[in-house]
């Protein structure tokens, strides 16, 4: 009897009402994965794509060859940025719920994916973030007031009211403009890195996308071009298990890790504990060194979990267990770093409490300042004619006419 082929429809291990089940995530012991030299041949280091690079063990001790040489000051800085990111997210989420901004996206649970790698690059290196990498902007000293003003589309908005909340950019600090179209920044980062090599400077580029976005054609474009030209770029996939309601199996994560795509294109792929700040830093540092010394691109998969909703327009209780995050085997990146700093004797719970209070106060002070530049409902408002600027370097005649028409309709200039 012949057997008809049947389609495999990927299913997550747990739906609402089910107990969380992360048995599908392959774990390695902290310190168990070898750290090869940065000039190792791809074919010799394919194990990095299937193992899980971890530094912090269950007792918060740094273990093994990937344990980075980070001084306590840097670790404390990383902690502060992560705590600040979470405090900022928490406040902005509540502000959105109050109707003062139209939309928001938190990074809850994946703060280390921005902050650890961010620390591994140099100031002149160009970052091409995704929309959940606000930690990178904060790490690179984008003022909270500026970020809030962007979300408010007010008179100090860096985007002059043209972008939804959270689509920041920071030219001065080399953090690119966020796009809502997924994965487009991946080949752009590769092109930027190719440009650096063409110009003969030693800057490199890094970019972030999510697990779901690896299904886009631009993922293939980026990896092909990066590998073909040996571009000095670090390509990051934040595997937070969920693309809105679509679990990572629908991007093809069930049968092979996302990191495994790397060796297929001829570049190292490294799967790393995305909630282990030390591991995220160490792996990024390795990839940055490899790129800067002419070794070419690396694909890194950060295994983490999206602790919150996709965005304020999403309700994850409709498609995944409510308490799934609590059961995630790699824990909470902030708690794990606190544990490590405590273990080093550099931090205490009371210090943590005062840090959290301080960061909340910082966010509150920033908000008070931000709203003096206006909100969506309260003046001052942006001049509406700004809508017609920057379409081209110089505003062409037809746009000037359209601007004047709008202004005339409104009874003169806004």
């Amino acid at each position: 009897m012949t057997k008809n082929p049947k389609l495999h429809i990927p299913q997550p291990t747990a739906r609402p009402g089910d107990p969380p089940d992360f048995s599908y995530i392959d774990l390695s012991e902290a310190g168990a994965i070898d750290r090869p030299p940065t000039d190792a041949a791809v074919r010799d280091i394919e194990y990095l794509a299937t193992g899980l690079v971890r530094v912090l063990d269950d007792d918060h001790e740094a273990k093994g060859p990937w344990a980075p040489d980070l001084d306590p000051e840097t670790l404390l800085k990383a902690l502060e940025i992560m705590v600040l990111t979470r405090a900022y997210d928490d406040r902005m989420l509540r502000i959105q719920r109050q109707g003062k901004i139209s939309f928001y996206i938190q990074a809850l649970g994946e703060e280390a994916v921005s902050v650890g790698p961010g620390l591994a690059f140099e100031d002149g290196d160009m970052m091409f973030p995704a929309y959940r990498n606000q930690g990178l902007y904060i790490l690179r000293n984008t003022g909270l007031v500026d970020m809030m003003c962007q979300c408010l589309s007010n008179t100090r908005d860096m985007c002059k009211g043209r972008q939804m909340p959270i689509f920041y950019h920071n030219r001065e600090k080399n953090v690119f403009s966020i796009s809502g179209n997924l994965t487009t920044q991946f080949p752009q980062a590769v092109g930027w890195a190719m440009g650096a090599a063409i110009k003969g400077d030693d800057h490199i580029a890094a970019s972030w996308i999510g697990d779901g976005s690896t299904a886009e054609a631009d993922f293939h474009h980026a990896l092909t071009f990066a590998a073909v030209y040996n571009a000095p770029v670090v390509l990051n996939v934040t595997n937070n298990q969920w693309a809105i309601s679509t679990f990572q199996g629908f991007a093809g994560g069930e049968r092979q890790s996302f990191a495994s795509r790397g060796p297929g294109y001829g570049m190292p792929g490294i799967r790393v504990d995305g909630n282990d700040l030390l591991a995220t830093y160490a792996v990024s540092r390795w990839a940055a060194e490899r790129a800067r010394s002419g070794g070419g691109p690396t694909l890194i998969e950060f295994v983490t979990y999206r602790g919150g909703a996709h965005s304020t327009s999403d309700d994850p209780t409709r498609y995944r267990p409510k308490d799934e995050w609590k059961a995630f085997p790699l824990g909470d990146p902030i708690e794990r770093l606190i544990g490590h700093l405590e273990q080093l004797g550099q931090w205490s719970r009371s210090q943590q409490e005062s840090l959290e209070v301080k960061m909340k106060e910082k966010v509150s002070a920033a908000w008070k300042e931000a709203i003096t530049f206006g909100t969506m409902t309260d003046p001052p408002f942006l001049d509406v004619e700004l809508m017609f600027e920057d379409v081209f370097e110089e505003t062409p005649q037809h746009l000037k006419e359209q601007r004047d028409k709008l202004l005339a309709m409104r009874g003169g200039r806004s």
Partner: protein, 333 residues
Amino acid sequence: MIQAIRSAHDVMMERDATVVALGQDIGYFGGVFRCTEGLQKKYGEHRVIDAPIAEGGIIGTAIGMGVNGLRPVAEIQFADYIYPGFDQIVSELSRLRYRSCGDFFAPVTIRTPCGGGIRGGQTHSQSPEGIFTHISGVKTVMVSNPYDAKGLLIAAIESNDPVVFFEPKRIYNGPFDGDPDKPSVSWASHPKGEVPEGYYTVPLGKAEIIEKGTDLTIVTYGTIVHVAQAAAKKAGVDAEIIDVRTLMPLDVETLRDSVNKTGRCLVAHEATRFCGYGAELVASVQKECFWHLEAPISRVTGWDTPYPHAFEWQYFPVQQRLVDGIRKVMEAG
């Protein structure tokens, strides 16, 4: 025209170390239409870059290079193949300046051969310019002769705005008057076939009056410029023929002044008609010149079908169709 395009690259790569070219087959081989021949040898593999067959990758990486201070000239081998890069053009290249308020921009020029008349069937003959003029934030050019091709390409490369630059492949080697039965002619005897060696520009955003006349205005661009010239002669009318050259932004002033003078207007292009670029031309002329018009504005275009291989000359707006169009406009009103 091929030499003119090559020369534009050469002049700009010589003058400006940030100018790079990338595309399929453009380096070692010099391009399937030879537009970049010899450039890799002269400027090296880092500035004239052979690319994988991935239009989205070519345009995506060109944007990254542009953000990093280079001026990339990306060749898409046929306009018919530009669509895998469409998202990068529409969502990224065209809006980067806008969304970052000028903090980031990518001065990318995308060159691509377009149009039919070479037995290319439906996958090597398309004229998709109207899709690009509909995007806010890219300039769109279609050239009709070697002199303009060089000058406009240099202007495009120097522009800080992205430019999609269409090169009708039927006229790469000589003007084509719309009569497929006549033997091919070269650019040698055409007044615009002579191309100065060094640097010069033809400004973006300026149409050109190719022939002055009083009976009617023919607004066109690309290959059809030459067809219109022959058709006007055949129809025995004193036509004013305008080569739009830059489709976006459109030089409305030149169109307005001409049609206000002649009172009659025919719009012609090779691309399909429905929602085609000609619709915008008609609307613009109607808005500017309505009270001067002595007849309804008419259009001659490709039919609203894919470009058929076997019926190329039934599809293409050949001389006779232009002649009919001219007569219709002249006889009306």
